[in-house]
């Protein structure tokens, strides 16, 4: 019989302790966590820290290229990395549906551990709640994190004509993967989510002395949301050459069939960069060490402030808009 998480595992008593020690301590153990104090006491070298929090829910929990655990670590660590900081300390909250498969929970915890190692971060505090069956959808994970600033001044409000816009790899893989894996869409593909930690890439850019103006990971809303946010926050126009946007054949195929734009699809390991013009080609070389598909996609102008324009190769223009509403496939 498969082992599952009983409602009593959220009671703060013996079953609760068993779950914590057998699953979570086993995966996350470190000196700070094992002290089991009410709060973690942390030592930091830097004067400035970056802090972020995010909650994660995804269906299915395990998808090609990742799972909710990897997603929960990448999500918060990437947000920290996007501010030029090194992810260091993470807190984790698990909200678990009664009856959740214990093996799956262990698998998720192991996958989190692996991703924490990539970032050189550790879990210093955690929480577990179990909800009665049917009151939540399987599992929700919240992660919060602190990182030490290694590069100061990154901001989405300071992008100017002195900057070039790049994207770190081909876009839309996570959104396309999750959409094709969901119920009701019988599509088979070799798609893999891009779910990945971005700190190593950011560190390489910082170490090379690249002049970074802004970084943002293109999660929900995709690249179009990031570029639109930047255009508004910095009061600029971003012009993108449509043909230069890197899209894998698999993602393109899904978009063609279902009527999506790759720029609308979520990513979990892809980021946009605004880099000082003189450093753009050097930044590109570094990005290419991590993904051959990294590309310069656009520039900053003042054609239509606060808007993003897509230029086609045959001389037409259109706005790239922020996606709205639920992602729904076209009908015919």
């Amino acid at each position: 019989m498969k082992k599952s998480v009983p409602l009593s595992a959220g009671n703060g008593g013996e079953e609760n302790n068993e779950l914590i020690s057998k699953v979570f301590y086993k995966a996350f153990k470190n000196d700070i966590l094992l002290k089991s104090e009410d709060a973690a006491v942390l030592e930091l070298d830097a004067n400035k820290i970056a802090m972020s929090t995010d909650s994660f829910t995804v269906t299915p929990l395990f998808f090609p290229g990742g799972d909710i655990g990897k997603l929960a670590v990448c999500g918060t660590c990437n947000d920290i990395a996007m501010m030029g900081a090194k992810p260091k300390y993470i807190t984790v909250g698990f909200i678990i549906e009664e009856g959740f498969d214990l093996r799956e929970l262990e698998k998720i915890a192991r996958s989190m551990k692996k991703e924490l190692e990539v970032n050189g971060a550790m879990v210093v505090s955690g929480d577990t709640k179990v909800m009665p069956k049917g009151t939540i959808d399987k599992l929700i994970i919240n992660t919060s994190g602190i990182g030490e600033l290694e590069y100061e001044g990154i901001s989405s409000n300071n992008i100017s004509k002195d900057d070039t816009i790049l994207v770190s790899r081909d876009i839309g893989a996570h959104g396309a993967t999750i959409f094709t894996a969901r119920e009701g869409i019988e599509l088979q593909s070799n798609l893999q989510s891009d779910c990945n930690s971005l700190y190593p890439t950011v560190k390489a850019l910082i170490d090379a002395g690249i002049k970074i103006t802004a970084l943002r990971d293109a999660t929900r809303g995709g690249v179009s949301a990031v570029l639109n946010e930047w255009a508004k926050q910095s009061d600029i126009c971003i012009e993108v050459e449509e043909d230069s946007i890197p899209v894998s054949p698999e993602v393109f195929g899904v978009c063609e069939m279902l009527g999506f734009e790759p720029t609308m699809l979520a990513n979990e390991g892809t980021f946009c960069l605004a880099i000082k013009n003189e450093d753009a080609s050097r930044a590109l070389e570094i990005l290419k060490q991590f993904s051959q598909n990294a590309t310069i996609i656009g520039k900053v102008t003042d054609t239509h402030k606060q808007r993003v324009i897509l230029n086609s190769s045959y001389g037409t223009k259109r706005f790239l808009d922020t996606p709205t509403g639920e992602l729904l496939p076209r009908i015919c």
């Binding site: 259109r318 709205t324 496939p329 009908i331």
Partner: protein
């Protein structure tokens, strides 16, 4: 041998050199015609290509697009959406429909709103998914809210056929299929209420071509013959559409008026006979179907034949489904826009009371509607 990739299939049809070459041919051809030509693309898929690729920017001053009523979601009248909403709220019902139908508001709200209130509403890519949903939920009634033009009708017919042959006893149908030629005739024939005139501005049609994959190009024969409007059944890639426009202009410059096919790689004159037979097996013409924005259009809808009444959710649930129709908003000028007599920006509620997130009229409902496209891509066009 190098394997075939998807991009090999579309690359040539999006090739920038070819698009530019067609743009200059279109310009030359348009110079030979000393009047302006308004081309209606009936199909929402064409509207989408026009907007996405910015094709109006490549047209000479005397060639204009009029965006037609060919988006099955946009034209769904409120009282039919109310039916879907009420059916979804019935106990033991799973309401299944296609794609963005679930976000269109009726007078009670959208299917998304129904879902938020606890209704089981699902969207599928293929209607055949209903079979799996039905077998996974034997104690539920699955109602397929069927929408779309000739393109999607055969999929519904195949599902009906399967339900009958496999004796599946928990799938029902609410049919909202509509047909293209009847509404094209209506656009040419109907009187415009606002200015009391029959003057539509449509000079030619780009024929919906996935409709013609099923129904053949034969369905447009009457337009050049009886109405003197050229038709070119055209594909959906930008190169297809540029060639379609050029073919229309050539008909004008050469004084021809014909029903042509540009999209020869999939469209034939006769169409898919098997699919047509399957449609005829299960469906009758409905004498009237009310289109959002256009009102009642004779013979433009389909309904299940009487002998399949046991599958017809409209009959089974007739006691709870309202029969009175809901009028379109008085200030909405979608009817004029669809006839090519008004521009979206001329509407007093465009962008104010009527926005993509809270559409009043049909043209704002889906991204394929003219108003939604103007709202989104707006001032670059």
């Amino acid at each position: 041998m190098k394997s075939l990739e998807l991009k090999n299939l579309y690359d040539d049809f999006r090739d920038s050199k070819t698009i530019k070459a067609y743009a200059s041919l279109i310009e030359q051809e348009a110079k030979k015609i000393d009047r302006s030509i308004n081309i209606m693309e009936v199909c929402g898929g064409h509207t989408h290509t026009i907007m996405k690729y910015g094709l109006p920017q490549l047209m000479p001053d005397n060639v204009k697009f009029i965006h037609g009523p060919g988006c099955p979601v946009c034209i769904m009248p409120k009282h039919r959406i109310d039916h879907a909403y009420i059916l979804a709220m019935q106990e033991d019902v799973i309401l299944v429909t296609l794609g963005d139908m679930i976000k269109v508001p009726g007078s009670k709200g959208s299917l998304q709103n129904a879902r938020a209130k606890g209704a089981d509403v699902r969207f599928v890519y293929s209607p055949m998914e209903c079979i799996k949903i039905a077998s996974d939920n034997p104690d539920k009634k699955i109602i397929f809210f069927a929408i779309g033009f000739e393109t999607t009708t055969p999929m519904t017919a195949v599902l009906i056929d399967t339900v009958i042959k496999k004796n599946i006893n928990n799938i029902y149908f609410h049919i909202n299929h509509v047909t293209v030629p009847e509404v094209m005739e209506e656009l040419i024939n109907s009187r415009d209420e606002h200015i009391d005139s029959y003057n539509n501005q449509i000079d030619a049609f780009l024929g919906p071509s996935h409709v013609s994959v099923i129904a053949g190009s034969k369905i447009y024969e009457k337009f050049p013959k009886e109405y003197k409007r050229p038709v070119v059944v055209t594909g959906f890639e930008p190169v297809d559409m540029m060639e379609g426009v050029l073919k229309i202009l050539k008909q004008f410059s050469e004084n021809r008026c014909e029903n042509e096919i540009q999209y020869k790689r999939v469209v034939s004159f006769e169409g898919n006979i098997k699919a047509q037979q399957l449609i005829d097996t299960y469906f009758n013409k409905a004498s009237l179907f009310k289109w959002r924005g256009l009102g009642n259009v004779p013979n433009s809808g389909l309904k299940l034949k009487k002998e399949y009444a046991n599958l017809d959710a409209e009959i089974i649930y007739k006691d709870v489904l309202p029969i009175e129709e809901v009028e379109d908003h008085k200030l909405c000028i979608c009817g004029d826009i669809l006839r090519g007599m008004a521009h979206p920006t001329e509407c007093t509620i465009f962008g104010t009371a009527c926005k993509p997130n809270s559409p009043v009229g049909s043209c704002m409902v889906s991204s394929e509607g003219a108003c939604a496209a103007y709202y989104k891509y707006g001032n670059l066009l």
